[in-house]
């Protein structure tokens, strides 16, 4: 099995004169938790959209789960999971119906759906809420459920776009435990976040400034490199040089 799950070379996206993503290159290994950091407007979302097969790169190349981002977008979509920064399950459907819907979207059979959904609910201690409307759950639970549903089809890579926005510290902690567990089971995690303490949890972190990847290493070595106490400091040092505003 190929050990590199995401491989990107000189990936670029231009909108007219504006270069949103400027020749970024990096590799993500299987089972890694890859932190994708950057200020607002640094180009994170655009880069992520290209990796998800939603946006076509202007130049450069890349593969995700072994498929080309330029030509095999549809295949990529089948092998990745995605959780957006906005809560994106259906509030007027029950927990079970949401799971069944997304399992169906990814082509799971009825039997597989039943097995996996039951198993996931048990792991979350959520079995009693199976017929509860998602809209009536607290936000923390919703986020956990979103994550579980994003991985229901056992994707190679899960893209998490600021998954813990607006969630209390305890739930964030629990959320990261789920991420760790998934990574241990061989799922690669590609996560963007604003919380620099979360960056510390990543296997490796990259920091984007003005469309370019300025730094990429393990949190420990990044701190060493920038002679910083915390990732927060590393981030501030780099972001100070940014030309683009919010």
């Amino acid at each position: 099995m190929n050990d590199i799950v995401i491989s990107v070379r000189d990936l670029t996206k231009r909108f007219g004169d504006f270069t949103a993503v400027d020749h970024i290159s990096f590799d993500v290994r299987r089972g890694e938790i890859f932190g994708f950091l950057g200020a607002n407007g640094a180009g994170k979302t655009t880069a992520m959209r290209m990796l998800c097969g939603l946006s076509y790169p202007t130049s450069g190349s890349g593969t995700v789960a072994g498929f080309d981002v330029r030509t095999e977008g549809e295949l990529i979509k089948r092998h990745i999971g995605y959780m957006s920064q906005r809560f994106s399950l259906y509030n007027d459907l029950t927990v079970w119906e949401n799971m069944r819907l997304f399992a169906g979207i990814y082509g799971l059979t009825a039997k597989q759906t039943n097995e996996r959904a039951t198993e996931l609910l048990e792991r979350l201690n959520f079995s009693s809420e199976r017929n509860t409307l998602v809209g009536s759950l607290p936000l923390g639970w919703k986020q956990k459920l979103s994550f579980v549903i994003a991985t229901i089809h056992r994707p190679d890579v899960v893209f998490l776009d600021e998954p813990t926005g607006g969630v209390d510290p305890v739930t964030r902690r629990q959320f990261w435990e789920m991420i760790y567990e998934a990574a241990e089971n061989g799922t690669t995690i590609f996560v963007t976040t604003h919380y620099m303490d979360e960056a510390e949890y990543c296997t490796r972190a990259s920091i984007m400034v003005d469309g370019k990847v300025c730094a990429l290493d393990t949190p420990a070595r990044l701190k060493q490199q920038f002679a910083a106490e915390s990732m927060d400091e590393v981030f501030r040092t780099l972001a100070r040089g940014a030309q683009r505003g919010e």
């Binding site: 076509y56 979509k77 906005r86 459907l93 119906e97 819907l101 169906g104 979207i105």
Partner: protein
């Protein structure tokens, strides 16, 4: 990949079923409208104000007027002159005018003796309320004649609505309106809701093709519209007694085409609007107003100013309502309205093509 399509249709149906209030509104509006238009426009003859034109107030005329005045259903409003007729009807002072000819008595007597033809009594009605005018005319004739020995011929004129367009003229209008409401408005709102809430993003990252997402959304609304269509047709036939001799099949197929057109319109709106409120407003202002005003639903197209007559050509409901009227009320077969069918088909093709193109462009 058929499985994911089925899960989608199921999901959309659940959304609709969970929203009981909207469901009820959609199902009840057509029924309420049908009953309102069918019965609120009363067919009973009640309190018809009558003015009389009589050059000579002879005994025969007096007798006839007396009979009218004493009848509980008619109110005698007095004598007027020939040139006051129009003004009198327009102002609403009278709903009907009875005109006796010169020499009414003499001719009636001669007719009784078999010498002359029968005298003529002209009845002029304000027919903007067709049903009332129709039955009032028949009733008034029998009242005026009184006894069988009285001889007269009637000449009836219906003003303001010469074709005697009847109350069930509203049925096609209601159909033209309701399907736009259910299909276009609800589909667009439901698509835009997903954009607004953020679920659309997740769906786009999934392997489901965007076009499938859209079609899956249309199917439940299409189904609801079909139920509504059957309800309307049943009510029209058995409650309002619309003859529908033109064949239900024709009406049904044409309606299916119109449903498709409405769905495409909904898709088009959803590509323009970014919030649910915007989608609602666009549907209401850009679609409902022209249907109410320019489709011939409320006002006959022939009575509109030329400018609006021209504009009405691009209102799809105009062609639909016109065709359904012809089939439902005049009893024409679908072949007789082929021109409307072709126009609607063309409009559907254009709207669908434009909206699919716009939808795809938006995704980029």
């Amino acid at each position: 990949m058929e499985r994911n399509f089925a899960s989608f249709v199921k999901k959309e149906s659940l959304h609709i079923l969970r929203d009981t209030r909207t469901m009820l509104v959609v199902m009840l509006i057509p029924i309420i409208l049908m009953i309102l238009f069918g019965f609120a426009i009363s067919t009973e003859v009640n309190n018809v104000n009558v003015a009389v034109v009589a050059p000579e107030r002879t005994d025969g005329v007096h007798d006839a007027v007396e009979r009218l005045a004493q009848n509980g259903y008619f109110t005698f409003k007095g004598y007027i002159s020939q040139n006051e007729i129009d003004q009198c009807l327009r102002s609403g002072k009278a709903n009907a005018v009875v005109v006796f000819a010169q020499g009414y008595d003499r001719r009636a007597a001669q007719a009784a003796a078999g010498i002359e033809t029968k005298p003529i009594i002209q009845l002029i009605f304000d027919a903007s309320n067709v049903n009332t005018a129709g039955s009032a005319s028949a009733y008034m004739q029998s009242v005026l004649l009184g006894t069988a020995s009285q001889q007269a011929m009637f000449e009836t004129r219906m003003l303001f609505n010469p074709q005697m367009k009847s109350a069930y003229n509203f049925v096609p209008g209601i159909m033209g309106l309701i399907f736009i409401l259910v299909c276009a408005m609800m589909t667009s709102v439901s698509i835009v809701r997903e954009k607004e809430v953020g679920t659309m993003e997740v769906l786009l990252v999934s392997p489901v093709r965007p076009v499938k997402i859209i079609f899956a959304k249309m199917i439940p609304y299409f189904a609801i519209s079909c139920i509504v269509l059957v309800t309307i047709l049943l009510l029209a036939r058995y409650l309002l007694g619309v003859p529908m001799t033109g064949g239900v099949c024709g009406i049904f197929s044409l309606s299916l085409l119109y449903l498709l057109l409405s769905l495409s319109l909904g898709l088009l709106v959803s590509t323009i609007a970014t919030t649910q409120v915007a989608a609602l407003l666009i549907s209401a202002m850009v679609m409902m107003m022209p249907i109410l005003m320019l489709s011939g639903m409320l006002f006959p197209i022939e009575n509109l100013p030329i400018f609006f007559q021209v504009v009405s050509n691009i209102v799809p409901a105009r062609w639909y309502i016109d065709a359904v009227r012809k089939m439902m009320i005049q009893g024409l077969p679908i072949m007789a309205v082929w021109k409307n069918c072709v126009i609607l088909l063309g409009m559907t093709a254009v709207i669908l093509a434009v909206s699919l193109k716009k939808f795809k462009d938006k995704l980029e």
